[in-house]
């Protein structure tokens, strides 16, 4: 083999896969056509632009820097790749009180606004793709239970002070995951919190945990950003008919 043949072979054997697998997909995925709703099949028109809530960009960066993606995935795989759609609360909610079964596979727009999609390495902890939705459901159930305890008929009549504070629940988990689940192996992020003296009634977002008399634990900036990002993780619900692969999809007329 001459050096010339060697280089021709090397370049050819690398350039083809590099173009096919890296460069061209990178370029073409930069501008993917936005799916459109179809009047005939979906009953409405317009672009599919799911709205993201929470501090997505900053939260995503903290999520990465803390290595959350090492133990948590954020992907609902189609059935050819896994059984994620069969779980009751991974790909959405199987029993949403208002919408019924909202589970679906992940699509490209679920990761919109994040420069890097945290698909994840392992599931040593739960998949977080629909963490926001699970917390929503938890809030509804907790409020219902509390309302029953207090003898109030409608949740909307429940006083604000008695309502389940979702954000606080996330902060508590970040502060010490073993408070909610003693078997959790999630790291504690106590460094995101400060312990301050209580003045008067105490801070509004102080954690409701055991702490020394006269002291309160308050979430710092990173905790608030991360909690906002996590609570915004809602990747379920309706998609245009062209992207709907559900078995119980209504067939077009």
């Amino acid at each position: 083999m001459t050096v010339k043949t060697f280089f021709i072979g090397l370049i050819a054997s690398f350039a083809l896969p590099w173009l096919a697998v890296v460069a061209v997909p990178y370029a073409s995925m930069r501008a993917v056509e936005i799916p459109q709703y179809d009047m005939a099949k979906d009953g409405k028109e317009g672009a599919y632009t799911p709205v993201k809530s929470g501090r997505v960009a900053n939260g995503s960066a903290i999520y990465g820097a803390e290595g959350c993606a090492q133990c948590h995935s954020q992907l609902s795989r189609p059935t050819y790749a896994g059984n994620d759609l069969g779980r009751p609360d991974l790909a959405g909610l199987a029993k949403d009180p208002n919408l019924g079964d909202t589970r679906r596979e992940s699509n490209l727009w679920d990761y919109d606004k994040e420069p890097y999609a945290w698909i994840g390495e392992t599931r040593m902890g739960p998949d977080l793709g629909n963490y926001g939705r699970r917390m929503e459901l938890l809030a509804i159930e907790e409020n219902k239970a509390r309302a029953e305890e207090l003898g109030i008929k409608e949740i909307k009549d429940l006083p604000v002070a008695e309502r389940f504070n979702v954000e606080n629940a996330v902060f508590t988990h970040l502060y010490d995951p073993r408070i909610g689940n003693v078997k959790s192996i999630c790291p504690s992020y106590k460094c995101f919190f400060t312990t301050d003296k209580v003045y008067g009634q105490g801070a509004v977002n102080a954690l409701k945990i055991e702490s020394k008399d006269g002291e309160q634990v308050i979430p710092g900036e990173r905790a608030q950003t991360l909690a906002s990002y996590l609570l915004g993780l809602k990747r379920d619900g309706e998609v245009p008919d062209s992207m709907n692969f559900a078995r119980n999809k209504k067939s077009s007329k």
Partner: protein, 486 residues
Amino acid sequence: MASEITSQQVEDKVLRAQIDRSLRHPVMFFFTSGAAWLAVSLILGVIASAKSHSPGFLGDCSLLSYGRVFQAHMATFIYGWGAQAAFGTIIWLMARLSRQESKKAGVILTIGHVWNAVIGLGTLGILLGGGTGKAWMYFPTWVWPVLLVCYFGIGIWSVIAFRVRRGGHVYISQWYLMAALFWFPWVFLSGNIFINTFADAGNGVMAAGINAWFRSAMLFLFFTPVAIASAYYIAPKVTGRPVYSYKLALLGFWSLAVIGPWVGMQKVMGAPIPSFLQFAGAGAAILFIIPALCVALNILKTTAGKSSAVAHSPSLRFTIAGMIGLLSTAVVGGLLALPDALRFTQFAFGGTYGYEILALYGFFSMTMFGAIYFIVPRVTNREWISGGLIRQHFWLSLYGVVFIGLFCCILGAFMHGYALETLDVPAESAQDRLFAYTVGVTTGWVFVALANVFFCLHLLLMWLRLGRRSSHPTLLEHHEPTLPAA
């Protein structure tokens, strides 16, 4: 009459000694600092693994939180140990094979120091919360361009040495080294540019896909060819036999070149990226068995029947273990990538980590240890002090990596993965299963860390030129005298 020594042989010996002497400082620097980073990486690995089953281990200090420590562990393993072991081997092997003394040892040594400084700062950056979180690119984003510039300053001289090589025939190791020297910048640059620099211009999911490709390409197109080049040098040298089949060697090289760049995106199977990317990755991961088999077969056949050499020579023993590691990597990687298995192993504990450790330690590092045990006596003109230290290094490494491979890749990946996939097993109880496997992995890392205590100590003594002055090499077993003394 005594055996004739031709003037050609004398010339060769002198040239070899000159080459070794010229490269002593950069090579020893790369190996010693690489070993130091390996020690750091293993300590971080033990901490990370311990935290995965005992989260309260070492308290709640933010610098030691699992996510940050794990990132630092992998970053230092790959770029602190792996890259520097590779550099030391590349520059020495290419100089020897091209029969060219190095005149740029000072430059290479300086750049080696810069590399270490940058890795040190980068690791601190990760532990302080500035890491990116992206696999195999964990360092803060200012690090990679500096590393790339350093690489050019180190690698270019070996390319030049090849260009001005003496001696007509190009040996197979030289092809592998040249390929690695060209693949690395292409892979490193494009991976980092698309994922870090142009992150906002691209699509987040595609970035995750390219990251998966990057990890695989770094493994198959940089670490693998360097290790193979080393094996093809050491096996014939130590046994005194020619390579079993040169045609097989070329087949192994070109099949790696053709198959290697396609692997990687099976890691994101099921993500919303074009499915041909996912399946091409899976298929190529399975096909990697072809180049692996060619190389392992060739090396094992070259040393077949010379079991005493394998038993006695530290470099050959580690190299053969590395070749077994190569086969294991290829087989396990193929199994994990079979789409029917991938649904279980994709997010299972150890499905990716275990495979990467098997590849990086069981194959690459074992082969590099073989290279180091061969090269260091030649560049320092001293022999290793103790066969016992080398034996400890070998067996503890083997136990450790087999433990990790077993608990991660086989038990963890399939048992945990099976529980995750089986719908009537609640997700929480799938996570309960982890405990045994994570403890197993911690144990494995403790073995490996112990092994490398012996290694680092031994290497440090050699670096301080406290090795044995001797005319015969340090061997692993006692020679039984076959003739009576008198």
